[in-house]
Each structure stands twice: as C-alpha cells, then as structure tokens.
C-alpha cells in the first residue's frame, strides 16, 4: 500500500468514526468498561500473586545431617541443592547459631536457665540448611530429592502450607483468567457490532469500490483503523482512571492500616502499570483488529 493510500485509509477510518458517532461512543464506552475491569482484575491478581509469592518465600525447609556427616559432605549437599531449578535461597545454620536462635525463642525471659548449657550445646549435632524455594508447588519433589541424598538425616517441612498457597494461587489465576477471557470476548463482540454498522452504512460505496477494482486491503483498512482507534481509546481512558485510583488506594491502605507493610507489601504503581499499560494498549488494539477482521470476513466478500 502506498503512503498516500495509507493516509487516505486513515482519514476514511476517522470519517467512519465520526459518521457513526453514537455507535463509536457506545463502543468506546463499553471497551473502556471491559478494559477497566480487566485492568482491575490484573492489579488485584498481581498483588495477590505478589503477596502469595512473599508468603511462599517464608515457607522454609530445614535439612539436618547425619552425625557422622563431614564438612565436605555438607558442602556437597548444599551444592546439589543450589543446582535444583526450584531452589530459591539457602542458609547454613551452625550448631551455635541454632542454639542461639533456640535461646532467643524459648529462654528470652529466663536467660539464666540457658546458662546451664553454656559449655555443653544441646544442639551440637543440629547444624542444618534452611532452604526456601522459588516454586512451592515443587516442594514434594524437592523433599524427595533431598531425602535421597547421602548424609541427610531429616527434612522438616510444612506440606499443608505449601499446598494451600499453591492451590490459592491457582484458584485466583483461573478465576481471573476466565473473567479476562469473557471480557475480551465481550469487547470483540462490541467492536464487531460497530464495524458491522459501518459496513452496512457504506455497503453501496464498498460495492462500487470492489467493482472498480479496489484491492481488499484498500477496502478493509479504514474499518481496521476504526476498530483499532476504538480499542486504543477504550484502553487509554480506563488506564488513566485506574492509575489515579490505584495510587489513591495504596496511600489509603498504608494510612488506614498501620504496620500492614510488615505483613504484606503491595506493588507500586510503576510496577503494576509498566506491564498493565502496554498490555491494555495491545489488548485494545488487538480486540479492535480481531473485531474488525471477523466482521469484514463475514460481511465484506464481493
């Protein structure tokens, strides 16, 4: 397509939008509503995932070693763990550190009682690795692997916590995914309707164009411009609104619930919108193209 023809098609697309003003507005309005909801679900979803991920980071697995395990053997176990795909972090807890932690936890109010063990560490054989995984759903596989390693005496882990977090993440993901798919379908349907009206209004003109030898792209391009424009405007408006709302919500939550940041952290506007804005523009433009192509395939064959 020549550049001049491209601009002609662009202009015709905008003329179409103007001609079908009411339908254009209705479509932009409904796409705005759809993408607003998609954005809202996304913002909630990524925050829940972020919170779950943070919680997963706290799900620890403790690995204790055989009495006769050598330092070399313990080091080797650590190396093998680090090579696992699901490995997150690892920390070596020496017997002294273990006893220190124990004292702090259980003898904090009666430190004198702990003094009796000063020269005889009751946890002398309790050095361990404290491991977190980057994918908690892999905990069972990881624990089986570690249990099979030479020199490992015992593995402590919480099966139910990991399962609950994994299941919760999955449920949130499925529900959000389903809702987003439904909203996308609604968006495509609405854009398709607007384009169909445009095609009906210009049916005669299109027929004449085809008989005069207009190429398919020349006939279709203005309708694609129309669909993409509706989609992009319908994405920009809700993004602006969501940006303002999200910013205010974070400030509100932090102000209203003191100390909440110790329990859970929310993603910043930058973190959410650096993904959400381009995604919304791609979704808006995408449903514009898909909506117009589907309609043209159905109604534009001469």
């Amino acid at each position: 397509m020549k550049i001049k023809t491209f601009f002609y098609c662009l202009k015709q697309g905008f003329i179409n939008l103007k001609r079908n003003k009411l339908f254009t507005l209705a479509s932009v309005g409904t796409i705005t509503a759809c993408i607003f909801l998609i954005g809202l679900f996304y913002a909630v979803l990524v925050n829940i995932q972020h919170i779950v991920k943070s919680a997963e980071g706290n799900v620890c697995i403790e690995i204790f070693f055989d009495k006769e395990a050598t330092d070399e053997q313990i080091k080797d176990i650590g190396e093998q763990i680090k090579r696992r795909a699901e490995f997150g972090t690892i920390e070596y807890i020496s017997p002294e550190q273990a006893w220190e932690n124990y004292k702090n936890q259980y003898f904090a109010e009666d430190p004198e009682l702990a003094e009796g063990f000063a020269d005889d560490n009751p946890l002398a054989d309790s050095d361990s690795y404290k491991v977190t995984l980057n994918d908690v759903s892999m905990q069972d596989v990881f624990v089986d692997f570690v249990n099979d390693l030479d020199g490992v005496r015992k593995v402590n882990y919480s099966e139910s916590t990991a399962d609950t977090l994994t299941d919760f993440g999955k449920i949130v993901g499925f529900i959000s995914g389903a809702i987003i798919i439904i909203l996308l379908a609604v968006g495509i349907f609405l854009i398709s309707n607007t384009i169909m009206i445009g095609i009906t209004v210009r049916k005669e003109e299109i027929g004449i164009m085809k008989l005069m030898g207009a190429k398919d792209m020349f006939v279709r391009a203005p309708f694609m411009v129309e669909g993409v424009t509706i989609g992009i405007i319908g994405a920009l408006i809700p993004m602006g609104v969501l940006y303002i709302i999200y910013k205010k919500v974070i400030v509100y939550i932090l102000e209203q619930f003191n100390g909440i940041e110790n329990v859970m952290t929310l993603l910043s506007t930058g973190e959410v919108f650096s993904v959400l804005l381009p995604a919304a523009l791609i979704i808006g433009g995408g449903i514009g193209i898909i909506g117009s192509v589907i309609t043209m395939r159905k109604h534009l064959r001469v």
Partner: protein, 228 residues
C-alpha cells in the same frame, strides 16, 4: 478480447441461468445484449466481473482465463472493465468531481494524474461546469453521464453498461447512447445490456439476444428481436 466458450451457470437446484453460451467479442466492438427479465443477462454480467464462477465452460478476457485468476488478483481484472448501472450508483455525499475522482483513488492513482484526468473526463461527458454539483442536483441523464465518466476515468479497455437507459426519458436515453457510441469510437469495447427496443433498433449495432440462458440470435447491425 472477450471469449465465452460453452459457459453454463446453474444455481442450486434450478435450471441453468446461463446455458452452454458461446460469445466472442472483438476489441473495439459495440455490442447490445438483449433479453427479457430472467433471460440470464445479470448472471452473464456477474460472470464477466467474476462475481460468480461458471459451473462449466471457459471465460477469457484480455487473454486472461477468469478461472485461473486468484482471488487477490480479481481487482486487477475489474480495472479492465468499467461498469455503468441503471441506478447510476453515485455516492450521494460527494459532488460530481469527487464521484469521478473516487474511481481514481480506489486504484491508488497519484494526485497529479487525478487532477489531469478527472476534469478531462468531465469535459468529455459534458459536465465540466457542474463539477461541484451533488447527485441530487442533477437530472437522471446527467447522473448517468457522471457514472460513465467514473467508469471510464481509469481507461478500461471494456465498458459494461447494465440497462444504462432504464431510468431515463427518451431524450436522455438517446443522449446517453450517443455518448457510449462516441466512447466506442475512441477505441473502448462497449457492451450494453438493455431492454430499450427503440435504442437498439436505431443504433444498428451487433445484437446478441438471449432467452432462458441460451443465445437465440447474434446479428451484426441487428435490431431488437421481435420474439422479445
């Protein structure tokens, strides 16, 4: 130029609209195709424009066999055939100049070419002074002349006119036919599908008469068959 060899077109569960038709039209000819409603004229036009595919037979236009033309190349075939309709089919929201220019825009003609060709074509059809008028401000005859200018502005070697005088009074009908004759004299092959007995008889051109999808006569310097 145009060759139909044993062309038939049957719609689902019906008698063929076009039945074993053989027509050969040379470059520069002026041909009337006449026949009653339902004789197969419209189907024939649609076959020539590749809006329909024949059930059997071969259609060749300008050396190109229509069956072998891919979908994406149909526009190029149509650029070789200017079409004029009974109901003019002008764009009501555009003036005379814009209507004719539209045909040039559609084939992506450069602006400089459009500026040269559109006024020239409007002068040829005698509407140079009415270039700013809108279709509703013109008479039927004038509207048909705009439609002819639009059909010819891309210099197609063939002009296909489907009942061009159907909506015109005798005076305008005659003027339109004279214009088509003038266009033919300039080298364009003109095919006119019509019901208009007076015009056909007066023009003394080649007349192909079709009935029930068959060619019943094909006469040089013929007239409208009495059987119609």
């Amino acid at each position: 130029m145009i060759d139909l060899q044993n062309v038939s077109k049957a719609y689902a569960a019906g008698t063929p609209a076009v039945n074993d038709m053989n027509i050969h039209i040379d470059e520069g000819e002026f041909v009337f195709i006449v026949g009653d409603s339902g004789a197969g004229k419209s189907t024939l036009i649609k076959l020539l424009l590749k809006e329909l595919e024949p059930t059997s037979g071969k259609i060749v236009i300008n050396g190109k066999e229509l069956k072998k033309i891919k979908r994406k190349h149909i526009p190029l075939l149509r650029r070789d055939i200017g079409v004029v309709f009974q109901d003019f089919r002008l764009l009501k929201d555009r003036n005379v100049y814009e209507n004719v220019e539209f045909a040039q825009i559609v084939v992506e003609s450069p602006k400089e070419v459009r500026k040269r060709k559109v006024p020239a074509m409007l002068s040829m059809v005698g509407l140079a002074e009415k270039y700013k008028s809108y279709p509703h401000e013109l008479s039927g005859g004038e509207q048909q002349r705009v439609a002819i200018a639009r059909a010819l502005v891309n210099d197609p070697p063939i002009l296909l006119a489907d009942e061009p005088t159907g909506n015109l009074d005798p005076k305008n009908a005659w003027e339109t036919m004279k214009l088509l004759e003038e266009i033919n004299k300039r080298g364009t092959t003109v095919i006119v599908v019509t019901h208009n007995k007076e015009v056909v008889d007066a023009m003394k051109k080649r007349v192909i008469t079709i009935r029930d999808g068959h060619i019943v006569s094909d006469e040089r310097k013929g007239g409208y068959s009495n059987e119609n």
